[in-house]
Structure formats: C-alpha cells, structure tokens
C-alpha cells in the first residue's frame, strides 16, 4: 500500500510547496520595499483575474507544454535533452517556411502543415545528437547544448541574409499572410470575454492534443512501453528484444518534434512572423516543467500552467509596481522551481510520516473495533487521530 493517499501526493504537497515559494518571494518583495500581499494579489489577479490575463497565461502555458513534453519524452528513455531551445528555434524556421512559401487557402490546412513542418525540423535538429548518442555514445547533453548555439547562429544568418524583408532593418521575416493567421481565443471563445488582441490561439488545443498523444504513447503503446523499459534498464531491454539504437533515435525525434511544435503557437499563432531568438528560454523552462511534472503529461500541463501564470502575473506585477523589475520575476520563478521541484521532499517527508501514523492508528482502531463488528470503526478512528496531533 502507498505511504499516503494519492490526493495528498499530487495536490496537497505541490500546493504547500508553491505557498512556501511565494512566502519566500514575499520576503524578496519586502526587500525591495513593496507590499508582498499587494504583489501577490496583483500577480494572481493578473494571471487569472480576467479573460485578458487568462489569454496570456494560457498562451505561455502552450509554449511550455510543448517544450515540457519534449523534455519529458526524452526523459522516459533516460535521455536528457537540453536542446529544446535549438529544436524550437528550428521549428520556428519550419513554420516560417511553410507559411511564407505556400499560398494556403485556409488557416486549418496551414496549421496542419505548420505542425508537420515545425515537428520535422525540430526532430531533424534532434536527430544528429540522437544518432551520435546511439551510435558513437557521444553524450547527448554536450551535443544538444552545442546544437543550441549552432541553431541560433543559423537563424541569425537566415534572418539577416535570407528572410529579411528588403529595406527593413529588422532581422525578421515578413508578416505571414492573413490566410494563415490562426484564430485566437476571441474568435473561438469570445463569449468568455477574450478580446481580439489575446495571444491565446488554437494551437493551445494542439498542445492539449500533444498531451493526450504523449500520454497514450508512453503509457498505452508498445513503443512507449519499450521506451520506459529502456529508460529503466538497458540490459533488461536487450533481453526483451528491444533495440537501443531504435529507442534512442525515436524518442529523441519525438522529443525534438514536440519542441519544434512550440513554434506553431509562438511564431504562427502570436508573432505571425519569425524573429530573432523566438524561443526566449522556453526550451530551458521546459526542463523545469518536465521535471516538476514528473514527466507525466498531466503534471507537465499543471507545471506549464504554473509557469504561464508566473510569466503573465509577473508581467502585470512589473507593470503595476514600477519598483519590481523583470529580474524580480525571474527570482520568483526560481523560488517556485526550487520549492516545488527540488525541495518537495522537505514537505513530503513530514507528510508521509503524518499519514503513516494516521494509517497505523486507523488500523489499531480497526483492530480494536474488530470484535464488535462496527463497519466504520476505522473511519471514526481517523479524526480522533488527527485531533491528537
């Protein structure tokens, strides 16, 4: 039996951790001489207070879902893909090419093509590190870091020398044609109060589909079964007739593809053009998201939502409180990662002890109640136990 009920594990503990993180953040806010209470209110209201906030929160969430899932899939094969940054950048390139070269009749087809294009280029960027890892044993962490740098160099070159609009000084592609502009929340959910300006667009649903896809892939398909098995033990995998090279390649390609698909949201859905450094760290945030989400799509979604809220809430905070700089927001993010991700045992250990003690008492109570058959003896035991705390 488990050490504690599932709800405590998946809801209570993360909640307490986030609260701790915010408390410490409050101290930093005090340090710069502002009211932490007010700051918290602004952040929460800013992120969730109205359709406007939700629009941005969910927009960022979408980005982080993609990069988070990317890291998560690789993790299941015991592969640490730090390359999300570069893969997403290449994904952006894919989207740009798709949107600018072909006259699409309708956004839906364009979106489909963009999803494929971005996934293909993202995967391609992951392919070389994956191949080198599988065949030559070159450590994936090094190669993916290197490929991040190479990607940025490639993009700067292309944006300056190939895609730049003649006469414009901005190293960015032309705006995508109207036809490929994705419907945003105001179009498909205007009744919720989203305004035309909201960045939240249909690729949010692509992200949700990606979550379902990854969940099915990892926990319901033979491939996923093999990926996890390989991740746990290579020798055992070989015993079962699983091909290491195949698994490393496939899992990294999927990972890269997912990272690339982030571009459908940020490039096609929001910017509607490809700009320099279009990823802006989402690749790295993806690492935190995947780790905090325990590499499970649901966890990844929740972690992504948390970060989306931090981004948007932070933006509002910065706007409302001049004293709060953007680095301040980074600090709060760091603290959230620290407490929910790295320090969660600090909360979990005492919790487990508590629930175990409670469980013991219930058993004792049940045993005591055994002679005279009182069905809910165990339950009546529980509150008693809590009162003793």
């Amino acid at each position: 039996m488990d050490k504690m009920p599932k709800w405590a594990d998946v809801i209570l503990i993360p909640l307490i951790s986030v609260i701790l993180a915010l408390l410490v953040s409050g101290l930093v806010v005090i340090f710069i001489g502002e009211s932490p209470i007010e700051a918290m209110q602004i952040m929460v209201r800013g992120a969730f207070g109205n359709a406007y906030g939700w629009g941005y929160t969910l927009f960022y969430t979408t980005n982080f879902i993609f990069t988070g899932l990317a890291v998560a899939v690789a993790f299941h094969a015991k592969m640490f893909n730090i390359g999300g940054e570069g893969q997403a950048a290449l994904g952006g390139l894919g989207v740009a090419i798709i949107c600018l070269t072909i006259p699409w009749p309708h956004w839906s087809v364009a979106l489909l093509a963009a999803v494929i294009g971005s996934a293909v280029l993202g995967a391609a960027w992951a392919a070389i590190p994956a191949y080198l890892q599988a065949k030559r044993g070159s450590h994936i962490v090094i190669t993916t870091i290197m490929f991040n740098f190479i990607a940025s160099a490639l993009l700067v070159y292309l944006l300056v020398n190939v895609f730049r609009v003649p006469g414009s000084m901005a190293p960015e592609t032309a705006r995508f044609p109207e036809a490929v502009h994705l419907p945003n929340a105001s179009q498909f959910a205007g009744f919720l109060g989203f305004r035309p300006s909201t960045p939240l667009n249909v690729s949010f649903f692509v992200a949700l589909l990606a979550c379902v896809f990854v969940w099915l892939l990892i926990w319901r398909t033979r491939l996923g079964y093999e990926i996890r098995a390989f991740g746990h033990s290579e020798t055992a995998a070989v015993y079962a007739g699983i091909h290491p090279v195949k698994i490393v390649m496939i899992s990294m390609l999927i990972s890269g593809g997912l990272a690339g698909m982030m571009a459908t949201n940020s490039v096609m859905g929001e910017a509607e053009r490809l700009v320099i450094d279009n990823v802006q760290g989402a690749g790295f945030v993806g690492i935190a998201v995947a780790l905090m989400g325990r590499s499970h799509p649901v966890g990844v979604f929740l972690a992504a939502l948390l970060f989306g809220a931090l981004y948007q809430g932070g933006a509002e905070l910065e706007f409302e409180m001049p004293a709060v700089s953007r680095e301040m927001i980074v600090v709060i993010q760091a603290l959230v990662i620290l407490f929910t991700g790295a320090l969660d045992n600090m909360v979990r250990m005492p919790m487990e002890a508590f629930f175990l003690a409670r469980h013991r008492r219930q058993e004792a109570a049940a045993a005591a109640a055994a002679p005279n058959p009182k069905p809910d003896a165990a339950h009546t035991g529980a509150p008693a136990a809590q009162r003793e705390e």
Binding site: Y56, F59, Y60, F149, S152, A153, L155, V156, Y157, V160, R164, G167, S168, M169, A170, P171, E172, R175, S197, P199, S266, E270, A271, R273, V275, I276, D277, N278, Q280, G281, Y311, G314, A315, E318, F319, P322, S325, R326, I329
Partner: protein
C-alpha cells in the same frame, strides 16, 4: 501621461535603451511630471505592453527599437486617438511618428577621428550581433576611417548570435584584445553591455575606445577618444514635450538635425586636436550639404569598404 517602452535589451543597456531612459528622465525633471515605462521580458509582451498603455490612456507612447515595427503597424490603427512614436523603424500609420537615425553618418565622423588618432593606421570595431543595424554602424565607421586615412585598416568583430551577445563583456574584452594585438589602437564598440568590456580592454591596453549611443566618455577618462552620439534621449525628450500634438510621419535625424554626432566634453577635449576637429567639422558640413555621400548599408546591404 506619456509612456516609454524599452526593448528586450533592458532599460540599462548602457546605450540605446538607457539613452531613451535618460531623455525621459530629463523631461520628467524639467516638467516635474511623471511617465509610465515598461521593460519587456519577451517578444510576446510587445503587443501586450502597447495595448496596456494605450488602454491605460497613456499618450504619447514612445517605443525604442526596430523590433516594435511590425507590431505597432497592427496596433496603431486600433487606437487612432493615441499617438505613437517609434524609434529606429518606419511605420506608416496616421498616428505614428517614426524616428530614424542616420547612424552611419555619426559613425562616419567617429571613424574619421579614429583614423586620425590612430598611429598604427589600424582601427577596430566590435559589434554585438551581425544584424543590419550594427552593420550600419560598422560600415559608416569604416568609410570615415578610410576617408581620413585611405590606407587605414578596419578590423570588425561581432560578439555572438545569442542574446548573450549584448551582455558578454568578457568576450567583448577578448575581441578587443585580439584587435589590439593585430595592431588596432582605436576601438569602436557598438554592443550594449558587451561594449563595457571592449572599452575596458582598450583602456587596460592604453589604446583609445569609442563609445556609442549615449555619451560614454566618462567611463575611462583619457582613453575614451569620443562617443558616437545617437540622440535617442533628445528624440524621447522631444516626443514627451510635444505631448499629444506629435506630427505623424517619418523623421530622419542625421547630422543636419543633430540627431547623431560625436561627443566632445571635458573628458576627451585634450584628445581631439584642433586639426582633427577641423577635419571632422568639414566633413560634417560636407555631408549635410550632400557633398559627401555616406553609403547606407540598408540600401543594398553591402559596404564599399572591406573590413577584416
């Protein structure tokens, strides 16, 4: 209440955004009034920031950076009663004033100064990222240098291809040292935070450095030859002062408009000799008069002068 939006580089990038900030501060001090400001954290916030301000009733809204161009092109029509000012990009909307600086002209002048101050005949340029804006600085600088000394060699380096390129004083310093070792004795830095490392390295090696955007002569008195002034501060100041009566359209600020120029102050007056000043002022006049045509890299993205 006017508002100012800084680009991703951040309010205190020691050059471009900082200049804008100074302009706003100048205005705030003189008028004693207040203004709103936003520092962007990521690209998605451009639109967000502009809308937030427009809806909060800020007017005019000034933004510094070419990256706002295509965003403003979409936003401006939505807020016809708000007037926008964009620096470094041209946006053709009835309620937008676009301010373009002729960086190449200013750079031309400091290029001349560099070549004249140089004993080795080799001058250096360190840029942040290899993007058109920076190339424009580089090319103007190179033309000026060659104009002052036909067989001057111009060394040019770019720092990197990631955002870190604007905040890597260490690499900047290393690039500067490399140029100094190759004989450069004047180095022009157009690289944001990275420039600090460049100018430091120049000062350490006892050669001249040239600052950019705002007047950076005070950084290393005695070894700062000059700074290429790009009066973003003035632009912002003017915009704020004009308030809501900004006349839309394109405003090109070159030497003539004193939008660009070179800095001369107590820190570098001993360094700029009479004849240097004479030569430069002559060239300045000639450029304004159109006798000297400083090639603008934006026109054909090529530079007449070969840099190494």
């Amino acid at each position: 209440e006017p508002a100012l939006v800084f680009d991703l580089g951040g309010k205190f990038d020691r050059s471009f955004n900082e200049a804008a900030f100074n302009g706003a501060e100048m205005w705030a001090e003189e008028t004693g009034e207040t203004y709103r400001e936003i520092e962007l954290q990521n690209d998605a916030q451009r639109e967000q920031a502009l809308r937030r301000l427009a809806e909060a009733g800020s007017n005019p809204i000034v933004m510094a950076g070419f990256a706002f161009g295509s965003t403003l092109d979409v936003i401006a029509p939505e807020y016809p009663d708000t007037s926008f000012v964009i620096i470094d990009a041209e946006v053709d909307q009835p309620n937008v004033q676009s301010i373009i600086f002729q960086e190449h002209e200013g750079s031309y002048l400091v290029g001349m100064l560099a070549a004249m101050a140089s004993e080795s005949g080799t001058v250096g340029f360190v840029g942040g990222m290899d993007i058109p804006l920076i190339s424009r600085f580089a090319c103007g600088y190179a033309q000026g240098a060659v104009a002052a000394n036909p067989d001057a060699t111009v060394l040019a380096n770019m720092t990197g291809t990631t955002p870190a390129a604007w905040n890597d004083p260490v690499r900047g310093g290393e690039l500067a040292r490399g140029q100094i070792e190759r004989g450069a004795d004047v180095i022009y830095a157009a690289a944001g935070g990275t420039g600090i490392g460049v100018l430091q390295a120049a000062a350490d090696a006892g050669v001249f450095g040239i600052g950019v955007d705002s007047n950076q002569n005070y950084l290393h008195p005695g070894s700062m030859l000059t700074s290429m002034l790009k009066r973003v501060d003035v632009a912002v100041y003017n915009a704020f002062t004009a308030g809501e009566e900004i006349e839309p359209g394109l405003m090109v600020l070159g030497l003539a408009e004193e939008g660009v120029g070179y800095a001369l102050d107590e820190y570098n007056e001993e360094l700029i000799t009479e004849e240097m000043m004479a030569a430069v002022d002559e060239a300045r006049a000639a450029i304004i008069a159109g006798e000297i045509e400083v090639h603008d890299i934006y026109e054909d993205s090529t530079c007449p002068v070969q840099m190494q």
